[in-house]
Structure formats: C-alpha cells, structure tokens
Symmetry: C2
DNA sequence: GCAATAGTTGACTATTTTGCTGGGTTAAGT
DNA sequence: ACTTAACCCAGCAAAATAGTCAACTATTGC
C-alpha cells in the first residue's frame, strides 16, 4: 500500500461526496470547486472509483455521482487501492523470490508494513471520518476565530 | 509520512549495510551490486543519510560506509524521513486552515494516519528487522528448495 | 611521494507519475 | 431541440524518481 497525494485526493473527494450526496447526486464540478481539485483529474479518479464499484454516475441534468454503498460500508483502504491501481508494489510484486540470491532484504518488512497500514485504513469508514471531521471542524473554526480575535487585539492594542 | 519506493530503497540499503558492516565499512558499489540499486542513486540516498547523521563515510582504500549508531538504535521511520526530505506533506503542511472555507476535509485523517504509521515504523529497528529476516530467509530458502524438488518430480515423474 | 581506493559533489538526462487542459461523445432531463 | 453532466481521450507540463557522467578530495598502502 503506497501513500501518496493521489490517494489523498481520492479520499477527499469521496468524503465530499459522502457529505453532500445525501439528497441528490453531486457533480464533479461542485467537488472540484469545493476541494480545489481540477475537474479532469477528478474525472480520472472517479472513472476508477466507478470501475471499482464504489460510486455510480447519473447522467443528465440533476445528475452527478452517488455512493453505491452506505458511507459506513466504505473504507479508506479500498478507496486508495481503487485509484492507485495495480502497481506491482515493487519488483517483487507478491512473489517471494524477488532477488537472485538473498531474496530482497526488505520483503518481509514491506509486506508486513503494507498489511499493517491496510488493516488500519480498512478499519476507518467514510461515515466515521465524516462524523469525526464534522466535530473537529467546528472546533477548529472556533479556535481560528479565537486566534483571529487575539491577533486583532495584538495589532490594534 | 509518505510511503514510496524511495523510502524502501533507503531501508533496503541500510539493512544491507547493517548486515555487512559488522567488521569493516561497506562500499556503495557492493550494496549496489547486492541490492541491484544504481550506484549513483545510492550516492544520493546516502548523502542524505549522512547529513541526517545515520551513517558515516570512510574514505580511502578499505573505506565505505558505517552506521553511526547501533543497528538497534536506528528505526525505520527515521530512515524514510531522512531520504524523503521536507515534503510539506500537502498544501496544508502542518497548518490547520489549509483551505479557504471548509478546512481541507481530510486533514485530520491524514495527520492521524501519518502519525500512526510513523509510530509504527519508529518501533521497528534495523536490528529487529535483521534478525527477523535472517530467520525467515532461511525458512524461505528451505521452502523454495522443497518446491523445486517437487517441481522436478512433477516434470520428470 | 605516488597510485589506487572510495567518498563527495554537482550538473545533466531519462523515465514515470501526477495533475491538468481541452476536445469530444453519449445519456437524461426540460 | 437544448442543456446538463457523465464519460472518454489524446496530449501536455511539472514534478518526482531513477540513473549517468565527470571532476574532485581524502585516505591508505606501497
């Protein structure tokens, strides 16, 4: 399991989708605007998410994307796996005898690590994240406001 | 904390170094040959590892690289951090108000995840890895031999 | 001192991934 | 019909990844 910006984009977009598509489908244009991701890049990502059976596209006016499953049934690991797509992980993609003699020293480490991370991310659902974010988002906003007030006081005091 | 092939290369090389530099320094040429990583790429990686105070270069004949600390005092997270070098992690590198209004939806997730992974990797030392690999390496070799014997039997039986 | 070894440095290239632009086609709603 | 928005490409620019080459310096051993 690789961790790059691409996966983060996908998770961000899915989060946005989960949050806004309760009532009607959400257009990629909207997500692009809210999350400042380019529309075309989103199209690429959603093409893969769709192929992975995570989202469904609805054409025509009033269309957009919807989640195929409940947000509580979608985990982060699957999202990342969907967009990262079949990188053979290293020269030793799954195989054990990856190197001539000594068998790729880090094999066990990376397999173990990968598994650990995957397990961790599989345990987190979109729904959980949404909840968590909602709460903390408010908290952050309050903090920010507080800081701003303090800053203003400093500059004008 | 990002996870890419670069970090894996670095860990692989450090593992090799830890394993072979018990007696005398190890040249990058040797590591390059054993781990099939290009010499120049290794040079780049080791330049950073050296600047991070993890390895020490010894010039002249019989020279090479040595670990600065004991293998049991070097953890994987530090190795990866050393070569990955100051990526500001995303547009919201550490800052909280990464986006105009809604504050980067995935912020909490990625910070939490990063921390989780870092913690995990900080808990693994080169020494531990070496030990683990040594044992499993032998095991794998035995397995392989066994499989080969079976294959031969199949083809010639 | 001289030659060989091996680190050190930097500039330069190639490949891949990433992220994006812009063109189109197709399905659905008004 | 017309609009909307998914779908589908072909390509492109920037960045990251991986590697090459060449010059230089410090160290060891003869």
């Amino acid at each position: 399991m690789r961790l790059t910006t691409k996966g983060r984009y996908a998770v961000t977009a899915m989060l946005d989708l989960a949050f806004h598509s309760q009532i009607k489908p959400v257009t990629l244009t909207d997500i692009a605007a809210r999350q400042t991701i380019s529309l075309s890049y989103l199209e690429q990502l959603f093409a893969r998410l769709r192929r992975a059976g995570m989202v469904k596209g609805v054409r025509g006016p009033g269309g957009g994307y919807k989640l195929c499953k409940k947000a509580s049934d979608i985990n982060i690991a699957d999202i990342i796996a969907a967009v990262d797509e079949a990188l053979d992980s290293t020269k030793c993609g799954g195989e054990v005898n990856c190197q001539k003699d000594q068998a790729c020293l880090t094999h066990d480490l990376w397999m173990g690590l990968s598994e650990q991370i995957r397990t961790y991310l599989k345990g987190i659902t979109l729904a959980e994240l949404l909840e968590k974010n909602h709460v903390q988002d408010v908290a952050q906003r309050q903090d920010q406001n507080a800081h701003q007030v303090i800053e203003i006081h400093r500059h004008h005091g």
